[in-house]
């Protein structure tokens, strides 16, 4: 089982769109895939038409009072399951803080379903927190969407340091540009200027396209409702770059 997390300290950069589309593509290839929507805003859960509710909430999951398997929901797509978000996830930091090995608990929870899935995607809330530390330890790859702006590069620096300073096994960090508009000079400059020596930067750039915003209206991944669109092709390219072989 490989774990890929879409993560950024900033919000609104395309984490959920990326997680939803890549998880769909992984499942379409035949990989048994799970997407865990860790964000209490529940955008990924909404896109799959699943109700954002986990019985017993974050507390029951983190303390293992309720097995993670009981919370899983099939999506409308073959091979793709969802662990839905719940509003109580906003308190997940506090729940984790009360456990033993508090930075490893999410990884331990995923271990219990390792035999059922080939790929797990974690759609993370935007923050640096105990949840983020858990995500670092649980993931093989940290996929970081960046809007091509100067401050994004600063954020990537912070994140790279955060990963480097963490104890134990560290995920590979792969950044990529998201919501890019090549008509904007600043976007072009930032994409060209990003240093690629310290952090792997994917060649694929996900453009700012209205069809990606339509995911919330159609409540489905882009390659499912617009398989020949440019956006779908971009996500397919990104998946080809980052998918584990």
């Amino acid at each position: 089982m490989r774990v890929l997390a879409t993560y950024n300290i900033k919000g609104g950069v395309g984490k959920t769109s990326t997680a939803v589309n890549l998880a769909y593509l992984a499942a379409r290839e035949g990989r048994r895939t799970l997407l865990w929507d860790l964000d209490p805003q529940a955008a990924a859960t909404y896109m799959f038409r699943v109700r954002p509710r986990v019985k017993g909430g974050s507390h029951a999951l983190v303390t293992r009072k309720r097995p993670i398997e009981e919370a899983l929901k099939a999506t409308d797509f073959e091979n793709l399951d969802l662990l839905p978000a719940d509003f109580s996830y906003r308190n997940m930091d506090l729940e984790l803080d009360d456990t033993k090995k508090r930075t490893r608990r999410l990884g331990q929870l995923l271990d219990s379903v390792a035999a059922d899935y080939d790929m797990v995607f974690l759609d993370c809330p935007p923050s640096i927190s105990l949840v983020s530390e858990n995500v670092l330890h649980a993931s093989d790859t940290l996929l970081v969407p960046l809007i091509p702006a100067t401050l994004s590069l600063r954020t990537l620096d912070q994140l790279t340091r955060f990963v480097a300073d963490s104890q134990g096994s560290r995920p590979e960090v792969v950044a990529f540009f998201s919501m890019a508009d090549r008509r904007k000079r600043l976007h072009r400059d930032v994409i060209d200027a990003i240093p690629r020596d310290r952090t792997r930067v994917a060649d694929t750039v996900i453009p700012a396209l209205s069809i990606i915003e339509q995911m919330a209206v159609r409540r489905a991944p882009v390659p499912a409702f617009a398989p020949t669109s440019r956006a779908a092709q971009c996500y397919e390219q990104l998946w080809a770059e980052v998918c584990p072989r």
């Binding site: 035949g30 990989r31 048994r32 038409r49 899983l72 099939a74 073959e78 091979n79 399951d81 059922d116």
Partner: protein, 515 residues
């Protein structure tokens, strides 16, 4: 992800009408009907049903007709796992069966089945054209909460393997909704059916002989008949060269036949010794050259990894040489196995077995029961193994170990042939002890034979003008085989010690092997 499913059909196994089904389901769900498809469903498994035994079901599905254009290749492999989930490999094109796993596109289907089927080929188990209609059952959020699939023969005139069926697929986290759909369908008069697995060739239930007092001939006749069935079952695959295991399994049946004839000498007619034992020895010898070359070819990928100084590509010429030699040897084997002489041999052997129980026992033969023959045979072979093993010293020649290996095989076959008469658990442990000794002796002998063969191959290849690189690489292989043989020789004492330990002796007492 799909979970377990329930299959329903009409009480008279007749056709199913879609409209009443949709009407019934619409009482609780928003029902969306998918496009109608005619799908050719080719069920695949190995000859010995390894996938089925692992709880896996593999289908090569080709969409032949559909109502509306949908973007996909129309051809796919579907692997169903034991938990009811399924894995789909898209973009499958132009696959022909039988075929080895290498022809499958790399991905999860291949990853899942390769370790299960190994070197066995995938073959067609059933081939049907079905008309499929999928119904998605949605809740008030328009989320699919269960799926129902109407699956019926594409033609009502064709003889179909299964009648029209409705499959209710449960989705993870929505089990209650599937149960509700199920109840609605049962209300229409449909009833649940189980999914029976196809029988395995060669898996005919062994005669459950437990009475030690039955005539020994009866037990031997049943065993020999079973080996003949296996030979016949494997013959078509062997002749068509589907995979190397057909020849291997054919040879195992021949060896078991020979061993059983030898064990049964005290109770079998003289013709078995004078005619059939040599006949099966010749048949075994006939198949040896191809099998040996199969083994070298199968081992070649591992042999490439043994190389330290030579380039693995240096063995390409050896690979080509082995292919040529095998092609020549196989032509000769196929010619012999297609001959009138061989066909007559199998027919006559079948006739011999059919009349074996009616042939009067020759007066000078002891009227032994199966239990008595089992005790006598296991005891005799066990003593020979113990004596032979005890006589192996540091300076013993290779042929002494080879002799011991053959006796171990005889003991193993005796434990198999008389298995219905002896305690299952004790037999299992005895076989485990024996197997570890056989493994060591097998490695010793195989490396001995391979070293000599490799030298012979090198000489012939040099005469054909092969490259120095190829010969040097083969030299490295011989060096590696030397080391492996030494290692096996060093492990012999420990393996024999385990076989000879008091607990093994006690086991043999229980099996009748010590008198």
């Amino acid at each position: 992800m799909m979970r377990t499913t329930r299959v329903l059909q009409a009480a008279d196994e007749g056709p199913l009408e879609l409209e009443p089904i949709i009407t019934a389901l619409s009482a609780q769900f928003a029902v969306a009907t998918g496009s109608k498809q005619i799908v050719r469903r080719v069920r695949l498994d190995t000859f010995d049903r390894l996938l089925g035994a692992a709880g896996l079901a593999l289908e090569h599905q080709t969409v032949e007709v559909r109502e509306t254009a949908v973007r996909d290749t129309g051809e796919r492999l579907v692997l169903s796992r034991p938990d009811g989930s399924s894995t789909v490999a898209v973009s499958v094109k132009n696959l022909r069966w039988p075929a080895l796993v290498d022809v499958l596109p790399s991905g999860p289907v291949r990853d899942a089945i390769a370790p299960v089927i190994g070197i066995r080929a995938l073959m067609v188990v059933s081939d049907e054209r079905r008309r499929l209609r999928r119904l998605d059952l949605r809740n008030e959020d328009r989320k699919i909460v269960a799926r129902v699939e109407l699956d019926e023969p594409a033609s009502h005139t064709a003889v179909a393997a299964s009648p029209a069926q409705l499959t209710v697929r449960r989705l993870r986290g929505y089990e209650e909704q599937a149960r509700r759909a199920d109840r609605l369908l049962v209300g229409l008069g449909l009833h649940a059916v189980g999914h029976g697995e196809d029988g395995e060739p060669g898996s005919a239930q062994k005669a459950s002989v437990t009475d030690r007092g039955i005539p020994a001939r009866e037990l031997l006749s049943a065993a020999l008949s079973e080996f003949l069935v296996t030979m016949r079952e494997n013959l078509p695959g062997l002749l068509a060269d589907v995979d190397t295991e057909f020849l291997h399994d054919f040879r195992v049946s021949v060896r078991r036949t020979r061993a059983t004839l030898k064990l049964g000498r005290p109770v079998l007619p003289e013709v078995m010794r004078s005619h059939w034992e040599p006949a099966f020895r010749s048949l075994g010898d006939l198949t040896t050259p191809v099998r040996d070359l199969d083994v070298y070819q199968l081992d070649l990928p591992a042999m490439r990894l043994w190389l330290v100084t030579a380039d693995p590509a240096d063995l390409d010429l050896l690979a080509a040489y082995l292919r040529r030699r095998r092609a020549v040897a196989r032509r000769a084997l196929v010619r012999s196995l297609r001959s009138v002489t061989f066909r007559r041999m199998l027919t006559e052997w079948g006739g011999e077995l059919a009349t074996l129980m009616d042939t009067p026992e020759e007066t000078d033969l002891e009227p032994l029961s199966a239990g008595q023959l089992a005790d006598r045979s296991i005891s005799r072979v066990y003593r020979r193994v113990v004596r032979g093993g005890a006589g192996i010293g540091a300076d013993s020649p290779a042929q002494d170990l080879h002799w011991l290996r053959k006796r171990c095989k005889e003991l193993r076959y005796a434990l198999e042939v008389f298995a219905p008469l002896i305690d299952h658990a004790a037999r299992k442990r005895a076989v485990a002890d024996l197997k570890s000794l056989q493994d060591v002796l097998g490695r010793f002998q195989d490396t001995e034979v391979q070293r000599r063969a490799m030298r012979g191959f090198a000489e012939e290849m040099m005469a054909e003008g092969t490259t120095a690189g190829a010969v040097l690489a083969m030299g490295e292989l011989i060096g590696h085989l030397d080391v492996e043989q030494d290692r096996a020789r060093r492990e012999f004492d420990a393996a024999f010690g385990r076989f000879e330990r008091p607990s093994s002796l006690q086991l043999m007492h229980r099996l009748g092997g010590v008198r």
